[in-house]
């Protein structure tokens, strides 16, 4: 078996990489694919917290590459979804603790056991980035409709290309359609225009308070059938499996908006 290795990256911090990793990983496993999440953000371990698995960590990625424990022993089984496992980052070491060559080797081992290997890349463009992308077949760039996130995303697209990861997927995170409609937030088309033709939109995730609630609880939102952000992540998971899924209509339609449009208080 040879699974697919996907790295989730963004350049800028705080745009939602870890949330994306937790949700697409959980979604893929819930759809029946054996999936492993790798936290490559060494020194700033967070994926375990978002997944609600922080109390089960014994060994981490650095223990594995330095040979202190077997890979299988470091993997933590998810408590909700069958076939989902996590390889946590070390919290005490730094980015230099794993080299790109060691990451390649690790990915090679993991892809023999799993259908999907999803890597949470650290923010920044230094050693940690180069290590995280070293073993990947495909990259997902997470960005927000905001100038600094987009500038960094553009930089990352260039760096990915240099690492032979061409045609990355783009996930537009935290979009607010009310602001887009007012002309106060860039739309998805604006974002793809700016980033150029080489990116393919994999998903559009609305800004949703329930993301914070789900992080508080350590339960990925993709499992919440009532959440719009959860629906957006379920759609992303289906697209990753090769399905054609239409993008959700995120506009807040309804009578009030139409009335506002008529008198010009909304676009």
């Amino acid at each position: 078996m040879s699974g697919q290795v996907i790295v989730v990256t963004s350049g800028k911090g705080g745009v939602g990489k870890t949330t994306v990793v937790a949700n697409i990983g959980t979604g893929l496993a819930a759809a029946g694919h054996k999936t492993v999440l790798v936290d490559a953000d060494i020194g700033l371990r967070n994926l375990d917290l978002i997944m609600g698995l922080e109390n089960r960590i014994v060994y981490d990625i650095v223990d594995v590459v330095e040979g202190r424990c077997e890979l299988k022993k470091a993997l933590i089984r998810d408590k909700r979804v069958e076939g989902l496992q996590l390889l946590p980052a070390s919290q005490t070491r730094d980015k230099t603790a794993v080299s790109p060559e060691q990451m390649k080797e690790l990915c090679q081992q993991l892809r023999e056991e799993f259908d999907f290997v999803i890597i949470d890349c650290p923010a920044g463009i230094e050693h940690g980035f180069h290590t995280a992308v070293a073993g990947a077949d495909k990259a997902i760039v997470v960005s927000m409709p905001e100038v600094s996130a987009l500038r960094d995303a553009d930089k990352i697209v260039g760096l990915l290309e240099a690492s032979e990861l061409t045609d990355p997927y783009l996930i537009v995170n935290r979009i607010r359609m009310d602001m887009v409609q007012r002309g106060d937030m860039l739309d998805v088309n604006d974002m793809t225009d700016i980033l150029g033709l080489q990116v393919k939109v994999l998903g559009i995730v609305p800004d949703d308070q329930s993301i914070i609630v789900s992080a508080n609880r350590g339960e990925p939102i993709v499992l919440d059938n009532r959440s719009r952000a959860g629906q957006a992540f379920r759609n992303i998971v289906r697209r990753l499996q090769g399905e054609e899924v239409e993008f959700m209509d995120l506009s807040q339609g309804g009578l009030m908006l139409r009335l506002k449009r008529l008198v010009g208080l909304a676009k």
């Binding site: 100038v147 987009l150 500038r151 553009d154 930089k155 260039g158 887009v180 007012r182 002309g183 106060d184 937030m185 860039l186 739309d187 604006d190 225009d193 700016i194 150029g196 449009r261 008529l262 008198v263 010009g264 208080l265 676009k267």
Partner: protein, 104 residues
């Protein structure tokens, strides 16, 4: 959709640019510089060297000269505007001293 407010704004000549349009424009410009991989220092160096070459042939207005990277559609262009004060009269260099049969 054209709305009443848009209409009134146009009527009174008050058209405000949306902040997303401003963001788009600013991003386009900053990404040209980012992608061209050229820092202002390097661009300045290029300008100095250009002046060096050009002044061998032309007398130029160095103050009024501008050299910048510009974006048109999907490509980046180096756009230079160089006001020429006068053309220097120079004796052309004789390329070869060997007889070629063609008189120079």
């Amino acid at each position: 959709m054209s709305s009443l407010l848009d209409f009134l704004n146009r009527l009174f000549g008050r058209v405000e640019k949306s902040s997303s349009d401003i963001a788009k424009k600013r991003l386009r410009l900053v990404l040209v510089q980012d992608r061209s991989n050229m820092s202002p220092e390097v661009l300045e160096e290029l300008k100095e060297e250009l002046i060096g070459v050009l002044t061998r042939y032309l007398e130029i207005d160095e103050v009024g000269m501008s050299v910048e990277l510009d974006k048109s559609d999907d490509s980046v262009a180096l756009v230079a505007s160089i006001p020429v004060k006068s053309v220097k009269v120079r004796v052309p260099k004789i390329r070869s001293l060997e007889p070629t049969g063609v008189s120079e």
